[in-house]
Symmetry: C3
């Protein structure tokens, strides 16, 4: 199935973003591999735990772990030429975001959850791997600050469950959302589309409890 | 039921603390909303995952997500006058802490867990939303450093399960603990009550593995 | 059973590393206790949640919480002389790492998971308590940067499941892996063995999404 091929591309791309982030913080080989696995599989793990969807996908199919470890090692080998690969890499990452989102939606729908929970499930799958990566690297998560990323995931999920609710065939819905979400993300990168920022400063603000 | 009205007030207040914290770090609209949701619903989510209590409350009742998103947007709108709302805001937050704690205890007791686990469950519900908020904002959690907060949650939980164990009626126990915990928290804020700090400094300390 | 005695030593040692880390950030008494509990019991909690292994060990046996709280308070009392205890402390911590790993493997195998998942389960149990501690203390996790630690857990887990797969008796496998992993960790500390680091720097790198 198309989606499962794209899923493998997605976890590979996400694992590489994790490995690069780890390399920027000079982690050791092992840290690089763990950050890569958490980035690639963390979103799906949080989704499965939140939905009570056991066994987790990588527990059932440990080969996904092998892919992410391989991607991490490949990243270390390719590090000297990674900056030449910037464009194809962003394209793979955009594909990954959209594929993760659709898979997350599909998992929730299979469990008979409502459309709203399916959209949330898609977004958790698409976005929270990167959130965990940034937390482990001691950074404020990028997806909360940079150009449209989580919003692409949200809109893709909404489009997907909407198409399904209008009785479109699952394959049609997946393919059109995959292409639509992918193009939206590429446009966001190309044109630098951003969400408005909320800047709040006040020394006398309520305590943040 | 009283507790469920207060619960809605509580998640709203918690969502607002999350939105303000996100605004201080200049997150975008989407980051603000996610931090608000995690702050308001994260404590209950960790509790449910730890106890294996499925489906999670916000998965079963997605309307809670709507409240937190609305609270986040409201916070952005009210931002220019938030510093005038400092006092009512701290009062709502105190109410929320105590309500979350009692709900957390009640969930564990319904699952037939022991009194000690019920108290822990209450504390996780009351405190860990704020812990997740601070972790995502790249801060050392405030509740580990500031005036009595987690301790209010702990004492409220202990009082609640103790009253129940002496066969007091559930409503009596809830109401008296709600008022007692609330007043304790307000006193802690007003008088600046703090736990003693543990300050440890030694260059030759054991490695922190 | 030997392993359960060592388990208690292990959570005590891990709780002490957590309490010291909290003391370095001048947390209050309550923060110290929570960090100690998360450090000691967090690895096993993540493992149980990931495997769907309910009830969690500390929910079933709240006495483990009592041990960690006691260890946290003991650390505060012993703080002035902790630097004299550096060596015994590192020895206990090494023992704890290996014991946690073997317990994590055993839990996964009891649930009929594959050998690869058992090894991962052992590593999560051994390492992720310390990862959570460092995340809550707003640090990049030490285990991703310092001398052999997670690798000791990995090799111990691999040795254990290998011995079992060659039909060695469980007690023989546990005892030999306990001793082997323990000595490996002590050697890593003594000789400063490290994994190679992956250092990646490039201003034009792909975005870390």
């Amino acid at each position: 199935m198309l989606l499962s091929i794209i899923y493998v591309i997605a976890i590979t791309a996400e694992a590489m973003t994790g490995a690069l982030a780890a390399g920027r913080r000079q982690m050791d080989l092992f840290g690089v591999i763990i950050i890569a696995c958490v980035t690639a599989l963390g979103g799906g793990t949080i989704r499965d735990v939140v939905l009570g969807h056991y066994p987790l996908s990588w527990v059932e199919h440990p080969k996904y772990l092998v892919y992410t470890v391989a991607a991490a090692i490949l990243t270390i080998i390719l590090a000297p030429i990674m900056h030449y690969l910037r464009k194809p890499f962003l394209v793979l990452d955009a594909l990954g975001l959209v594929a993760f989102t659709l898979i997350g939606c599909a998992v929730a729908l299979e469990m008979n959850h409502s459309f709203s929970i399916a959209v949330i499930s898609g977004m958790i799958t698409g976005v929270f791997g990167g959130v965990l990566r940034d937390v482990l690297c001691n950074e404020i998560p990028l997806v909360f600050r940079k150009e449209l990323y989580a919003v692409v995931s949200l809109l893709t999920g909404i489009a997907y469950v909407s198409l399904l609710s209008f009785d479109f065939h699952a394959d049609t819905a997946i393919l059109s959302c995959l292409i639509g979400g992918f193009l939206l993300r590429l446009c966001a990168i190309h044109f630098g589309w951003e969400m408005p920022k909320f800047v709040y400063r006040d020394p006398n603000t309520p305590d943040e409890h």
